[in-house]
């Protein structure tokens, strides 16, 4: 990465061009196998392209981990409607900062991935939905798109091969909810970002009610290498049923926070100690958020595990979006749970009552608790309220708020009890900045 030193343990596939001079330019891209996957895909049938993506066992990098090839296979290719490719670049899951780098340092890799997806389902138009706060990335992507048009990789007759594809960026305006696929589509259509009921899924009725492939930035960025080197090559980089590498965003109390591209199935303790340089200040590990704020927290003794979708799911959490937040022994878990809930209460779109009311009341309960005004019965109520949100909303935001809360209450009940009876927070005297590793 250019924002942090690389680790010798990395397997650079999606990030392999990041350190090349002018890595954003199409000339650099073309000089390093750029657009070769797309050129190969032009000579393949749609079934062959989708088959190769299926073989790669690429699973959605936005968080859900759904097999990408299967998702593409759901698009009704014979439908007379236009088809769309939509890139979810609304990166906003707390703990996650990878898509930003993929766009900043190798924008053409994303464009090429989108082009191949277009060939796979017969789409001729794509949109990159970029969160509004990433304005500079809209500039980076627009420039790359202009270069691709100028060199004939986008347009009405690409490379003179009779392929048509047009691509444009689209700015969001600040809403975590729009990272959810159906809310993103509503937003793309110029509306409030409320989720849609499914089915129908976007593959059948997405943008403008037309068949749509909607994937995360990182998912599309993996596709050119898959087509160029073969699905099996990509699958073999990872662990069983989890193809390839992924970008892990290491943050929190490690000596070397940063974004690192590691094979799927990389051990979490090795990630913390060998890639991240261990816990700062010789402190002990307390817990890890394995894949962004919505994932149930893992206690230190649960962290010796392979970071792939299935292993983390077996540990009752999720690999999520790759945001690995590392917490040392001096972190207040009540405050941590409160901050997560404040976030979800702020970002709940209000469409579904269990989420809107649940997050609001949980925020109030957790605030009261952290201020030392909590009652013993509140501990049970926090868990119960969270459980009553699960599965009762149109989109996963309600679950995303409930799951980490349930896990924190169950695994760190002693910390909640330590806040009872008006006792001050045991960690109140600690200045968090002192744990940043930075000189004041």
């Amino acid at each position: 990465m250019r924002y942090n030193d690389p680790s010798p343990l990395e397997t650079p596939v999606l990030t392999r061009r990041f350190r090349l001079p002018n890595s954003q330019s199409i000339d650099t891209y073309l000089a390093s196998d750029g657009y070769k996957g797309f050129e190969r895909a032009i000579g393949m049938t749609q079934d062959e392209i989708i088959g190769e993506v299926k073989t790669s066992i690429l699973r959605g990098r936005g968080g859900a981990g759904f097999p990408t090839g299967m998702k593409w296979g759901f698009v009704p290719r014979t439908s007379p409607k236009p088809k769309y490719i939509v890139v979810n670049a609304d990166e906003s899951e707390p703990g996650t900062c990878k898509d930003r780098l993929l766009m900043e340092f190798d924008p053409h890799q994303l464009i090429e991935g989108v082009l191949i997806a277009g060939l796979a389902v017969g789409a001729q138009q794509g949109y990159i939905y970029i969160r509004g706060e990433f304005r500079y990335l809209i500039g980076v992507m627009d420039k790359a798109i202009d270069e691709a048009y100028a060199k004939g990789y986008l347009g009405d007759n690409i490379l003179g091969r009779g392929v048509k594809f047009n691509l444009a960026t689209h700015s969001g305006a600040g809403a975590y909810e729009c990272g959810e696929e159906s809310a993103l589509l509503e937003s793309l259509e110029g509306k409030r970002g409320n989720p849609r009921i499914r089915p129908p899924f976007p593959a059948v009725a997405g943008a403008y009610q037309c068949p749509t492939i909607l994937n995360n930035v990182e998912t599309f960025c993996a596709v050119p290498s898959i087509i160029l080197n073969g699905g099996k090559w990509f699958a073999d980089l990872g662990s069983p049923k989890n193809g390839g590498t992924r970008l892990f965003c290491l943050s929190g109390h490690v000596n070397k926070p940063g974004v690192y591209e590691l094979p799927m199935g990389f051990n979490l303790m090795r990630m913390i100690n060998e890639v991240g340089g261990g816990i700062r200040g010789g402190k002990k590990l307390k817990a890890v958020v394995p894949g962004g704020s919505s994932c149930p927290i893992l206690k230190a003794d649960e962290c010796d595990l392979a970071m792939d979708y299935d292993t983390v799911a077996a540990a009752k959490s999720m690999l999520g979006s790759g945001g690995v937040v590392v917490l040392d022994e001096d972190t207040c878990m009540v405050k941590f749970a409160l901050r997560i809930m404040r976030f979800y209460a702020h970002e709940s779109c209000g469409w579904c009552i269990p989420c809107r009311e649940g997050t609001t009341w949980l925020k109030k309960l957790l605030t009261r608790f952290h201020e030392g005004q909590g009652q013993r019965s509140d501990i049970v109520m926090i868990g119960d309220l969270s459980k009553n949100m699960l599965g009762r909303t149109f989109c996963p935001l309600g679950d995303a708020a409930a799951m980490p809360t349930i896990a924190i209450v169950e695994k760190f009940r002693d910390e909640f009890e330590a806040h009872l009876d008006g006792k001050p927070c045991p960690y109140e005297h600690i200045n968090a900045f002192s744990k940043s590793g930075l000189a004041a």
Binding site: A173, Y176, S187, L250, P257, R339
Partner: protein, 173 residues
């Protein structure tokens, strides 16, 4: 109302991106870019965007109410956004936020009397591995320390542009 020729050109580009009968898609990008120029979403802006996108002013207004970056009150020339979400929180985001409030004597979504600086405590801005993080307008600042924040706010208060402030470097390219 009249916009700058640059913004007009930008609007034309936006409208050309979407199918001819789907101009409503341009509503949000237009609002974000218009606000950069007008500093707030006024009723006039709403009506103008509605007219250009072929929707009712109410359909634009309901969007303004939904998205956190759109606002009807003008912000400061420099909108300082401090992230206090989890990755920033545990390495000092809250301390940075409190320091900013204390130093400027304003709070969340408030603006200094001279209109130069406004403050907002924001949710995750995607800079988790380089926390604590601050955004000034659209520019990112990574690994922000209390002394850097002091320099940044002192410089902005004294009328300097962010790039003219010594010892504070923006992260994005």
């Amino acid at each position: 109302m009249t916009f700058s020729p640059e913004l007009e050109a930008q609007f034309e580009k936006f409208l050309a991106k979407y199918p001819a009968d789907k101009k409503r898609s341009a509503v949000i990008p237009m609002l974000v870019y218009a606000q950069d120029e007008t500093h707030a979403i006024t009723q006039e802006v709403i009506e103008e965007v509605a007219k250009r996108c072929g929707v009712t002013p109410l359909q634009v207004d309901e969007v303004v109410g939904f998205y956190s970056m759109l606002h009807k009150k003008p912000q400061g020339t420099y909108h300082v956004q401090v992230c206090t979400n989890i990755s920033c929180l545990i390495v000092g985001g809250e301390e940075i936020w409190n320091q900013a409030c204390h130093k400027l004597g304003i709070g969340h979504k408030q603006t200094t009397a001279d209109g130069r600086i406004s403050l907002e405590e924001v949710e995750c801005m995607g800079a988790c591995s380089w926390a604590p993080a601050v955004q000034v307008n659209y520019d990112f600042y990574h690994f922000v320390t209390p002394s850097q924040l002091d320099k940044l706010l002192d410089g902005l208060s004294a009328g300097k542009k962010p790039d003219e402030i010594a010892g504070v470097k923006r992260a994005s390219c």
